[in-house]
Amino acid sequence: MNTGNTAFILICSALVFLMTPGLAFFYGGLARRKNVVNTMMACTMVMGISVLLWVVCGYSLSFSGNNGGIIGNFDWSFFKNVGMDAGPYSSTIPNLAFAGFQMMFAMITAALITGSVVGRMNTKALFLFIVLWSFAVYYPLAHMVWGAGGFLSSIGSVDFAGGNVVHISSGISGLVLALMLGRRRGYEHVKYRVHNIPFVLLGAGLLWFGWFGFNAGSALAADGLAAHAFMTTAVSAAAALLSWMLIEFLADGKPTLVGASTGLVVGLVAITPGAGFVPIWAAIIIGLLVSPICYYGTRFIKQKLNIDDALDAFGCHGIGGIWGGIATGLFAQTSINSAARWNGLVFGDWHLFAAQLAGIAISIVVAAVGTYVCASIVKLIVPLRVTIKDEMIGLDLTQQGENAYPSFNGLD
């Protein structure tokens, strides 16, 4: 047990926690004014669900034991045998600290999904969906990637801080859900303007702040690897921020703040799987390229495929996460982190690259099938979508009975 490492992981857990409220602002700012409260509520209720389920049996299913490389067991339910001593995943920090750190990942992943469904999903259905999805998608994926004996780690696929588990899984789940829900009424001609741009920046700023805990903390120690992941995180975000600005500058000379905020977020997404594997120069490349990939990807999905991935949970996290997983297969170096068994493709070895592609493909399948099944079950209980009238009035008033800012165009 090491106090420095324990201090680091506990504080990093708090930082990762803050990403979910941060996301509520990132998403809430992007939403229409009549759907702000509802959008933020989605992230907020996830905070409750994810933490409670984690203690009940989520942590156990993800990290205790191993059933066929797919899922854990119930031995750590209600944190039985999870205590102040070190656990199997790190000898220098309390098992409880590891549990707390991982808990925050489960939270932010579920919260990310909600970006795809804003403006039309029934709050009750979303609540049920998140509960089922945690069991069907998150705990299995977390186990496969990070659990002892997990299938994906056994084939040599690596994921430093959650490219597959967090970003691909949430992005794909959001996409499937958006498809099942259908487009918002009037998607073709209504203009979805960002209702509060400062909130978008606030969210992006808190996300970046928390992401330092997310990526550096994934070293599970306050050591050189943590510092390395810290630095790759910063530089990828910065590079993506600038390359998004550049795209917009070339398009019409006016780089936007929403664009810059989006750019930094996709830069963070893309570096996540490789933060502790790729060299710092590669992080610059990963960041510079993720913005054009997501910019054109988002456009393609929304305008060509006509899928209403409302706040781009898939466009940013899904696509960015896939690129990050591939990039890890390109640029990883065993000399940086021996948890990778092979060097990346640019160093002449194709093994890791192949493993990464396999890992990505399996993550996509798990998330897509799991989401489809869960949403189909929910549909038997409550309708997934609100009525057209409620959608027009806005989800704030019809789902939460609240108005985000009643005295701004009204009166105090």
């Binding site: 009549k34 009035i393 009166l411």
Partner: protein, 119 residues
Amino acid sequence: MLLRVEAIVRDEKYEDVKAALDAIGVNGFTVSQVMGCGIQKGYAEKVRGSEFDVVMQPKIKFDIVVSSREWAQKTMETIRSAAKTDEVGDGKIFVSEILEVMRIRTGETGYDAINEPEE
């Protein structure tokens, strides 16, 4: 004769009314956010378990100045069919007279000030 058609409609009907006005080719209009009460007495809101009456409802006001009685009539009907839900709170339309109009850009007055040249 210059007339002002002023319609107070439900918040959520804003887009429908706007589209309907565009469809009949109205030349311009001005919109503002207001609060209203009438027969519709609002709803009850709960904050931490305490109930409050919210009497004033957000509404949208459309102001359209037109240059004839026929247009006024047409505008009223258009708004009515777009804004109607048959539930209390649908709003009102008021018509009043305007003595003079001027287009700031050109200084044109009267009929020309509110109709596009090509018409």
